[in-house]
Each structure stands twice: as structure tokens, then as C-alpha cells.
């Protein structure tokens, strides 16, 4: 195994650079180092000006998503040796404005998320003294995988529709809406319908399936969207055939 590997890292300092450029760094190629370890090596030993986000280094906080050799990845879970002998290209996540270097601006998702009401909606709240809302493991299985989303934005970076149609709600927000719609304790499906059924809701999706492929937590946003399309189509049909039952 060679002792070092070359990283080609996007640099963009808005005060200095007119447009992003690549900068090359040599880093040690250790068998147990991930791309994030290499970035930390650069930051601490070579170039203190490189900027990127990271926190937990265990694939659960969702901070360190970047494009590695063209693929959206969590850099804390992407080993250098898998791309040896390199060079390894590290860029910010696609489809987002870049603030600086590897740091993207994800305010768009943060503004879209509340629109799908990702919280439990119930008309009658029972007092705590009456205990928990019962939910069998089978009922939990209905939504559990959608609750595993870490909001890492890899699916937005991979989604060709989001790239063209920034108004599209996007995979994670729709999956999180379904996480609540499918929860036996929730009664908010009706309130979420308008946002989800709008043209920039589920119907924006052309079922490319890239979101599901790149998800590091095995969430299936594409499946969530397809399933909701069926729900929405049935609701529409019901409204047409049985107008007294709609809304």
C-alpha cells in the first residue's frame, strides 16, 4: 500500500475566489482512516483555513456529508483505502449553494421541513396518567425506517429533480411526513395532504430512486414517495366518486 494519497479538495473563499478551485493535499494513507480523518489532518497540520462541518464521527449526527469522487457520502464513513491509490476528489454536496469550501447552505430544507408538520397531530390528547399510546412492533414497523432519517442531505444532493426544481419538497421532507402519516398514534395525514399533494410535493418526483440508493441509513424515501402517490391518487378518486367523504 502506498504511504500517502492525494486529496483534491474544493476551495471557495467568497472574499477571495471568484469561483471554486481545487487544492491538492498529500495525506497519510492509514487503513483505518476515513475521508474526514484526512480533512482533520489537513486542518490541524497543513492548512488551518480549510472549512467543513463535522461532529459525531459515528454516522448519526448528519453533519459531514460531502461529494467524494462524485458520490454524496458521509465522510466519517468513507474509507480512504476504498479509493486508493487516488487521487480522491472531495467537493461540497451538489444541488446546494456553497457558503465556503466544503460548507453548503441548507436553509432551504430547514424551511421546508416544518411545512410537512413533522410532529404528532391529535385532536384528543389523553392525560399522561393514562399511560402510553399502545403500539405493537408491527405497527412500529410501518414507519420505523422513515424515522431513521438523519437529515444529512445526501438524498437532496443526489436528487436530479431537486437540482432542476428547487421548489420540490425533496426526499427527506416527504419521508419524514410519511414517518408521521404511518404512525398509528398520529391523526395528521389530512393536514399534511395539501402540501404533499401539491405539484412541488410528491408529484415533482419522477422516481429516479437515487435518494434511496445514497441514503446512509437505509431509509427508502423513493418508496415513501411512491407509496404516498398511491394514497393521494386514491384520495382524489374518493373525492371524485364520493364528494361527501372528501375533507
Amino acid at each position: 500500500m502506498p504511504e500517502t494519497v492525494t486529496l483534491q479538495v474544493t476551495r471557495y473563499r467568497p472574499e477571495i475566489d471568484a469561483e471554486p478551485v481545487f487544492q491538492e493535499y498529500q495525506v497519510p494513507l492509514h487503513a483505518d482512516w476515513v475521508v474526514l480523518d484526512a480533512l482533520n489532518y489537513i486542518k490541524d497540520n497543513v492548512d488551518g483555513t480549510l472549512s467543513y462541518r463535522w461532529s459525531c464521527r459515528m454516522g448519526i449526527c448528519g453533519s459531514c456529508g460531502m461529494t467524494v469522487n462524485g458520490e454524496p457520502k458521509l465522510t466519517c464513513a468513507t474509507f480512504l483505502v476504498d479509493s486508493a491509490p487516488g487521487p480522491i476528489r472531495v467537493e461540497p454536496l451538489g444541488n446546494f449553494p456553497v457558503l465556503r469550501d466544503l460548507v453548503i447552505e441548507m436553509g432551504d430544507f430547514m424551511r421546508k421541513l416544518p411545512r410537512v408538520k413533522p410532529w404528532i397531530v391529535r385532536t384528543d390528547e389523553k392525560p399522561l396518567a393514562e399511560g402510553e399510546y399502545r403500539q405493537t412492533p408491527e405497527q412500529m414497523d410501518e414507519y420505523k425506517q422513515f424515522s431513521m432519517c438523519i437529515n444529512c442531505m445526501l438524498c437532496y444532493a443526489a436528487c436530479p429533480v431537486y437540482g432542476l426544481e428547487p421548489e420540490f419538497l425533496g426526499p427527506a421532507a416527504i419521508a419524514l411526513a410519511q414517518r408521521y402519516n404511518l404512525d398509528s398514534r398520529d391523526g395528521g395525514a389530512k393536514e399534511r395532504r395539501e402540501v404533499l399533494s401539491a405539484h412541488d410535493g410528491i408529484w415533482g418526483c419522477t422516481f429516479v430512486g437515487e435518494c434511496t440508493r445514497v441514503c446512509p441509513k437505509n431509509v427508502d424515501p423513493a418508496g415513501a414517495i411512491q407509496r404516498y402517490k398511491l394514497t393521494a391518487a386514491l384520495e382524489e378518486l374518493k373525492g371524485f366518486l364520493m364528494p361527501w367523504r372528501a375533507r
Binding site: R13, P14, E15, I16, D32, K43, D44, N45, D47, G48, T49, S51, Y52, R53, W54, S55, C56, R57, M58, G59, I60, C61, G62, S63, A77, L99, R100, D101, V103, M106, M110, L113, P114, K117, P118, W119, I120, E125, K126, L128, G131, E132, Y133, R134, Q135, T136, P137, Q139, M140, Y143, K144, S147, M148, I150, N151, L176, Y180, D183, R185, D186
Partner: protein
Amino acid sequence: MTRAHDVLLVGGGGAGLRAAIAIAESNPRLDIAVVSKVYPMRSHTVSAEGGAAGVIGRDDSLDEHAYDTISGGDWLSDQDAVEAFVKEAPEELLRLEHWGCPWSRERDGRIAVRAFGGMKKMRTWYAADKTGFHMLHTLFQTTLKYASIARYDEWFVTKLLVDDGRVQGAVAIELMSGRIEAIPAKAVILCTGGCGRVFPFTTNANIKNGDGMALAFRAGAPLKDMEFVQYHPTGLPFTGILITEAARSEGGYLLNKDGYRYLQDYDLGKPEPRPVLRSMELGPRDRLSQAFVKEQEKGRTLEGPYGPYVNLDLRHLGEKVINTKLPFVRELSLKYQNIDPVKEMIPVRPVVHYMMGGVHTDLNGATPLPGLYAAGEVACVSINGSNRLGSNSLPELLVFGARAGRAAADYASRQKDPGPAVLLQGVDEKRRLEHELLHRTDGRERVAPLRTEMQKTMEASAGIYRSGPALAQATDKLRQLRERLRAVALADHSRTFNTELTAALELSFMFDVAEAIAHSALNRQESRGAHQRTDFPARDDARFLAHSLVHRGADGSCRVEYLPVTITRWPPGERVYGR
């Protein structure tokens, strides 16, 4: 300046978000701001794995949870705080269920509980082994429905604003733009979590730098019980990634190099094939981490590229149990250690995990400084005493997050708006940051090497076993390093997302915390819980049944005082495990 708020929360993890909801629900007219240096769902609560303790079983009782907590903390816990905690923990966990947290269930749909270290009954609620992740996302998503909660995402707090003896807001840097603003508020709640990054080998995320502890300390609030640093016995050797205690509560074994369940040699009980509560692998974390060191001294650990380790064996649990109860353990082992726990043993060693100490508060999260509150790991109430039991920290941040929120809401609704002096302090702080860091070019020192030296100093002196001479040396060394910190210069002078600037500010916070730890540890001439002195190996209730309180002098020096422990119904006794 930004607009003024009623209550400002520093930190958007479990404690901060729970506090925010408590304020919104107790008084909908109050204007709440959550200021966090990361997006709230990135907060370190997300990494908590095993579970959250709260009595629900018919065979269980609040007194038993209280006794386990108090004996687990080697009688340094305040018993009035523990009594309030165990009583409110189940209702807080239930409230989270009502908000949608996907707690693991029994077949009939009721909440399931599991065993945990140091707990005599099964009372730990769990969401597989991603409990903190599910709690945090449930809380975050629930906050989105309250219009009165404003968020300052990716704003880094550098200083608390204190005027007329009251805390009246904070100064923060918006990372995206680099602008530095005073954010006035009638009350501030610190919910910034722990400080594991003071040590080189930790389960803690990169963001755990003791920010809130240092902010409070500098503003004049004392830090309590800072010598009590928890080592978790099972971290992955290179990364420090936590392998949850739930792996042992489901039946995992800890084995030395001879394949021997060595805990039986350390007064923790006899090995049984199935897990026994408060025994062996289900002993408390301090005792298990100490046993590792003793095992190493006997030459019975294994040696790997990152030092000594022992094996955690889950193979006998089978693939089905591992996949349903411990899916994250399998995922982490496969991804980061290239080991499948279904077929292979997991190498583990003790790793810095949790800070029992923190900002001194009362039962309602109030610090001695009017207008300043704290909750969660940043605070020390204290329920954890000298050693926290696994699965007590998640309910702690709910119970005391909610309490601090309600208390701060009540306080804020009786205060006047912050005055002009507060804004002038904001201007001063802005000037300081620009002059000392952003614009400076003449410094000789760099952030990363100083941080490494500080971390090594802490590991060498304030680890699992400590001694007076090593701690005295550490306090000297830290003072020298702090002098060098004054000469730090940044290579990065950009306003936009300057992470070298935040790293320098975090390093400065960590020095305050490190010095507080070293001084408290040096002064406590006894061994209790996670604080083990080789030169004072016994517990000394006559002198030290008391909390340490570190005060900061004007020159940055540390002064240690003591405050008696509150004893209600459980007089100090012997900690007994496995017999």
C-alpha cells in the same frame, strides 16, 4: 444587536429543546430563542445509544431507582434532587412517547424496558440502540410547531452579558456571515452539554468543548464536582466510538486475553451465563473502567495498534437478538472496526464519556447568578454524584430541562428589558474578537498543537487513576499552556464560516474546564466513584462528603470550596455489587 428575547437558550440538544417546549407551554407569550453552534438535530444527544431510565414496572419502585442512583454515585448525589428526578423521569419519558418517540415495545404494544449497569430492576426505556437519536429528533420536530421558539442555527456564543449582577443575554457569532451580535434576553439557560474533548480519547463529538461551563465560569458562576469524569468501559480503540452498555445488558461478556470474565476478580459478583442485575458486566461504569486498568497492570489485556484492549463478546446472543436489540452496535462494528459481532469479538477499552460535574445549580436549574440557568450535562444539580449510572443522563436532561425552562420562564416574566449597558458590552466583545483573533497576524502559536498538548496533559494526570504529584504538575503545565494560548494566531481571517476561529474559542473554553478539573481533583484527597487517587485510596466521608465548588478569580485562577451533600433518607453506606 438582534431583537431582544425573553429567554435565550444556549444549546439545542435534548435539554435545550425540552426547556424551550416547557417555556412555550408554561407561557405562550414569552419570546424564546434557541442559539446553537450546530443545527439542533446535530447536537450530541443524537449519539446516546442505550436508553433512558424511568420506573414503570410493577415490581419496581421510585425508592429503588433512587437507591441505585445514590449508591452508584458513591453517596455524592444530593438526595432531594435524586428524589425529584426519579419521580419525574417516568412522566417525562411518557410525554416523549405522546410526542411520537418510537420507544421499543412489548408484543402487546406497551413500552419495553431493558436492564442497565448498576440498576437493580429493569427500568431502562429504549429505542433499539439509537435512543438519543430518536429522542433528539422527536424533540426537535416537536419544537417546530411552536411559533414562539425562534432559532439561531449555527450561531456560536462567545460570552454572557452580565449587567447589574444579572445575566441579560449573550454575544454570538453567526457562522455563515461572521457578524458578531449581542442577543439581549431577560434570562439565559445553558444547555451546551459536556466537555469530553478536553481529553484525547473520548466518545464525545467534536463540538463537546465545555462551552457553557466556561461561559458560566467566566460570568461568575461556580463549577461543581469537576473532578468526576466518567470513563465508559467499552469504546472502540481507534475512534473512541461508544459500544453501548446495552450490549452487556442483553448478555455480552467482557473477556481478557485468556478469554476469562475478569470482572469476577474485582468484587463484582460471580459469572453467570445470563446477565444478573447489579453484577459483573452490569456493574457501574467507574468500577468496570478501574478493573480494566488493574487487568492491564497484571498483563492480562490484549495489545493492539492503539494500545491495550479487552474483548466484548456478543456471539452467543445470536444474530436475531443483535439485529433487533443492538442494530447500531452491529452497524458501527462493521463499518468502523470491520468486525461482525455476530461472528467475532469486539475490541474495547475505557474511553472518556461523560462529565458528572458542571455548572452549580439548584433543583430548578438556577445558578447562583441571577438570570442564569443550566440543564443537562453542562449542569451539576447533582443527581449523578461521583459516578453516573448508564441511562440516567437522558431522563436527566428531560426532567431538569423542563424544570429549568419553567423556572426561567417564571423569572423572565418578572424582569424588565435589558438595558443599554448590555449592548455596550456586546460592542466591547466584538472589538475583542476582532482584535485578539480575527485580525491578528503576529502570534507564534497554532490551535491544534496546543490542543493536543492540553489533552495529553489531562490524560496523563486526570485519567482513571490520579495522584497528587501528577495533578500538581498538570496544573503547572496547564498554566504554561494557557500563556502560550495568548500568542495564538489564525491563518484564517475570513468572516465566512471560519472554523479556525471557533476552534480557537473552543480551545480557550477547554482550558478553563481543564484547569477546573485538575484543581478540583488535586484538592479532593480521597477516592470516590470516578475519582480515584492512588495516594488517597479510601473514601473519606469525614472530610469529603461534600461537593467541590470551583470559583474563578479575576486573574483566571481557581479557588476550591466545599458544599455539604444533601442526605434525606439514605445514609452513606458501602457500595455493593454482585453479592
